[in-house]
Every structure is written in structure tokens, then in C-alpha cells.
């Protein structure tokens, strides 16, 4: 399993190599990339903050849980931090599986879990201002009262 939070550009080939496995018949790759608009506003760039050591730990937990839920051979989860320009990749998830269906399902589940609980935050920077985005999918918003 590969998990990493890094200011360096994410390299798809590295993740593919990391999850490569002779038993795999499929490798699923998901790239989250920076979009030039959100909720009708033009976005100039994004700035990502993270708690890197905890983020890598939570990514590893998600990876282990994914291995229990899906027939995964291996998994890689990488998130970039710092300033990202339009079109650059912020999140890279790669999974290797015996057959294709599981690669889509596992990839989808992992990306959703990353958005709920990995301590990474993005700030949108517009022409005329900026704002930290507080994810509607975050545990902190979905929030079981028992967590408080």
C-alpha cells in the first residue's frame, strides 16, 4: 500500500507501478483535478492545507478498510498540498483488482471516504477574493452528535 501527502506533482505511473500485482486483471485510476469554476464562480487556483502525518494515517486506514470490503490486490492513495493550478491533480487513487468491476467500486468508495475524513482542506482563490471550502461530505458536517 502506498499513501502519501506531498507538495510535489502526483505521478500516475508511480501509483500504477506501486499497485502492480501479477494477480491483478485491472488497475483503476482516479485523478481529482483542479476545475476552473465552482458554484458559478471562476476559480483562479486552489491552495491545499493538510495535517500530513494524520492524513497519511487515515489514508492507510481507508486502504485497509477497502481491502476488507473489496477484493483488492493493492491500493495507492496520494494527495498533493500547496498551490495547484487549473488542471493539476490534487488526489490520485489507484487500485489493482482481479477483475474490472471491483476496481470501479473500490475506487469510488475510497474517493468518497477520502473526502469524508482525511484531514486536507482546500481554499478557492478567485479574482476578487478567497475562501476555505468546508466540505459538505466531511464528517465534521455530517457529524454524529456523539463525536462532539
Amino acid at each position: 500500500m502506498l499513501t502519501r501527502v506531498t507538495p510535489e506533482p502526483l505521478v500516475t505511473d508511480e501509483a500504477v507501478a506501486a499497485v502492480g500485482n501479477p494477480a491483478a486483471g485491472a488497475i483503476g485510476i482516479f485523478l481529482g483535478v483542479v476545475r476552473d469554476n465552482n458554484l458559478g464562480r471562476r476559480v483562479n487556483y486552489l491552495e491545499y492545507d493538510a495535517y500530513p502525518s494524520m492524513a497519511e494515517k487515515v489514508m492507510a486506514e481507508i486502504g485497509r478498510e477497502a481491502c476488507g470490503k473489496f477484493a483488492l490486490e493493492d491500493v495507492a492513495i496520494l494527495h498533493r498540498t500547496g498551490r495547484l493550478e487549473i488542471g493539476e491533480a490534487s488526489l490520485l487513487v489507484a487500485v489493482s483488482t482481479g477483475h474490472r468491476a471491483e476496481s470501479f467500486e473500490a475506487g469510488h468508495w475510497i474517493v468518497n471516504e477520502v473526502k469524508k475524513r482525511v484531514p486536507v482542506w482546500k481554499k478557492e482563490v478567485w479574482e476578487d477574493g478567497e475562501e476555505w471550502i468546508e466540505g459538505p461530505e466531511s464528517l465534521g458536517v455530517q457529524a454524529p452528535a456523539s463525536m462532539r
Binding site: D49, K57, S90, K115, V120, W132, I133, A143
Partner: protein, 81 residues
């Protein structure tokens, strides 16, 4: 001492990413939260959405905090795109 880490919107509002608070007998995450709000009243409106971690594990606000531990204040996460 207890180390407190702040991130993203919370760090910006407080104007710092890290501070040290004195530890005491029976200190909980909730106590740390209350001390933070006292020091940085601008954080008060954010409280309902904040989660906390002690030594990199999400915990409830009644969790104890001992000397030498690190408390992280976690605003709603927004990784990915």
C-alpha cells in the same frame, strides 16, 4: 504542555498554526476547545462543525488529554476536487 495544531480556516482566524497550552489534571479535549475560544473568540461560530484529534486519532470532546499529547482542531475536510 499540550501542543495544539490549527489548520485551514481555523488557523487563519486564530492567526497561528500551533500553540502550547499548560496541561492539568483531568484536562479534556473540550477544555482545550474552551481555552481556544477564550483566546480566539473568532473561532466561536465555527464550533458546531469542528472535530478534534488527539495524537492523530479522531476523538470525542470528552476524551482526556495528557501532558505531551498533540490536539488537532479539524475543520470540515475538503480534500480531493
Amino acid at each position: 504542555m499540550i501542543t495544539v495544531l490549527l489548520f485551514a480556516s481555523v488557523a487563519e482566524k486564530a492567526g497561528t498554526r500551533r500553540l502550547e497550552l499548560p496541561d492539568g489534571t483531568g484536562t479534556t479535549v473540550g477544555d482545550i476547545r474552551d481555552q481556544l475560544v477564550e483566546r480566539y473568540p473568532a473561532l466561536e461560530p465555527m464550533l458546531p462543525n469542528l472535530l478534534f484529534a488527539v495524537d492523530e486519532e479522531y476523538v470525542r470532546t470528552d476524551a482526556p488529554v495528557r501532558a505531551g499529547q498533540t490536539v488537532a482542531v479539524i475543520p470540515p475536510v475538503s480534500g480531493g476536487c
